[in-house]
Symmetry: C2
Subunit: 333 residues, 2 copies
Amino acid sequence: MATLKDVAREAGLSVGTVSRVLNNRGYISEDTKRSVREAMARLNYQPNAMARSLSKQSSSMIGVIVPSISHPYFAKVLSCLESAAREQNYQLLLFCSQGKVAREEEYVRVCVSNRVAGLILCSGSVETGKLRNLGFPVVAFERFINEADAGVECDNYEGGAMAARELIRAGCRNLMCIGGAGEVSMPADARRVGFLDVCRQHPDIEVRENICAPEHLDDLNYFPELRSFLDSAPDVDGIFAGSDVIGMQIMAELAKRGKRVPQDVKIVGYDDVNLAQMTNPQLTTICQPVHEMAQECVSIIIRAARNESYPARTMFHVTLERRGTTCGNDEYT
Amino acid sequence: MATLKDVAREAGLSVGTVSRVLNNRGYISEDTKRSVREAMARLNYQPNAMARSLSKQSSSMIGVIVPSISHPYFAKVLSCLESAAREQNYQLLLFCSQGKVAREEEYVRVCVSNRVAGLILCSGSVETGKLRNLGFPVVAFERFINEADAGVECDNYEGGAMAARELIRAGCRNLMCIGGAGEVSMPADARRVGFLDVCRQHPDIEVRENICAPEHLDDLNYFPELRSFLDSAPDVDGIFAGSDVIGMQIMAELAKRGKRVPQDVKIVGYDDVNLAQMTNPQLTTICQPVHEMAQECVSIIIRAARNESYPARTMFHVTLERRGTTCGNDEYT
DNA sequence: AACGGTATGTCAACCGGTTGACACGGGAAA
DNA sequence: TTTCCCGTGTCAACCGGTTGACATACCGTT
């Protein structure tokens, strides 16, 4: 592997000079620049990013901790983070905590060790004060943490409210809200509250509320719980699912029971992951602007690296994607 | 951020000594070890991984390039790679090429710059010789590349053959094979060949063959093509889908057309991603031992780092996961 | 002739670790 | 007593870059 020194020798110059043309510092003649570039090309030189980071005291890596990679929502988040990072010439160090606090703490240590430029936390477990004074900013993604330096989230309350209004609009009267895994004490819990608040404004609407166990972020098997929820409410005609994955599984279970969607039961999901468009009918869902959120996270980290100020908390709007699972009673025939 | 020097000062020793206790080298008294450990704890010291890698001339990062993160198959692969890497105290640098060759080449350069321990390529575009002499091994994951130092793949031929046998066993006579995106010249293409070979052994079986355009690895919208495939063969009663995602979309489209699965049409997917169990009926599919494959990739990279030898090509068995979409004509009622 | 500014390039310290070479005191063997 | 080894610890070079300080040379001013 060629080093700067090799390039300097090849070009007949000193390391310092070569480094200058690399970093566009000071006065360098066009001739010199050219001969350096040629030498680099000849040797197939690639600067050593570690040496550079070490000396510059700043790296271009961003740590990301997610609870699960194969959950479609986090896959979507990761995808957006990767593209946002790339746009700014940053790289992603990927970690998957599987919801285990110990693993999360280990990963935080690894990030410190690697002197990342910043850490984006999408994971759920709480860190008791271990996130302060790490030497880089910690950005919480759809997750509220006191210890984090910044938070980027969505208007989950409004998302839940929109879901309720959509189901009611479509003619449902007997609603159920099925919360995702372990959302209590997380921003996502506001969905539930928003949903219930709207329901309560309608005296003729009945609502039930169910919460799934928190283990399912990884295995994604909500069926046993969903079955008992549905058993407990055979007359339900509108369901707000805490995620599209839950929504899909409800659809599968309803199909098994001979219930038609949307004729007998209407459904609103959450996240607008790609699967939501692979069902029949396609799933109505609440969509977060994940791409913008990801860009905001990266932007916060970059601003922090430049010692610029950044918002402690950013909240984005959600939107309703109306699809086949909430066609109104008069809309299908 | 505390450095080794700080620890040394705090413990009243020299840097060299402290480094020795960190790396368990030479003779160090228990007393010294203890006081070093205490000093590290007091200062909340975390060794600088970049400095260490620089000086040791070896890093613990593995680059991974996938064409898409939100495709469930690659999400599954990434998930397994992350856990395999973690088991060996390696970290993952994540890159998403979106099938673009230019981006792939850029990412390879970034990996070189970062002096990764190895690169795992799950991406599809071909690299013309740019993968040799990078300073680290390149492992091709389910992808055949001459330039790669090693390849880890599955018995795709047998996978296709199993799919054919399963559909025939379940009573299908009018088969269709729908290839995934751009599999030609990739190991996945062997699925098609295996499938067709088995079909040809049965003179009473009719087979059609279709290939989807290669762009869909990212947007995952196969519907328009699937519709025309189905239009062209209204009498088909068994479909082998190149991926579970394709399989799911076929199911949705068939449902729309009033065809029942598995009564009217039976389906076998590929990959066994988590969604395959979220449909109704659940999707029969061919499963790769992704976890073992991921471990093998990491193991190859570690062996290469130790200058040990490693296999140039490893092939794993696939298995059939029989589920609801291929119940035989006499198995449901 | 002395001076100042500009253009070009060299040198060495530093980033935070690792590691081989070596110093030193003490005990055992010759 | 000399020799040698052992246990313990120090020192400085090195990994591959970056950067401020400084040397040199050339040009135009005053």
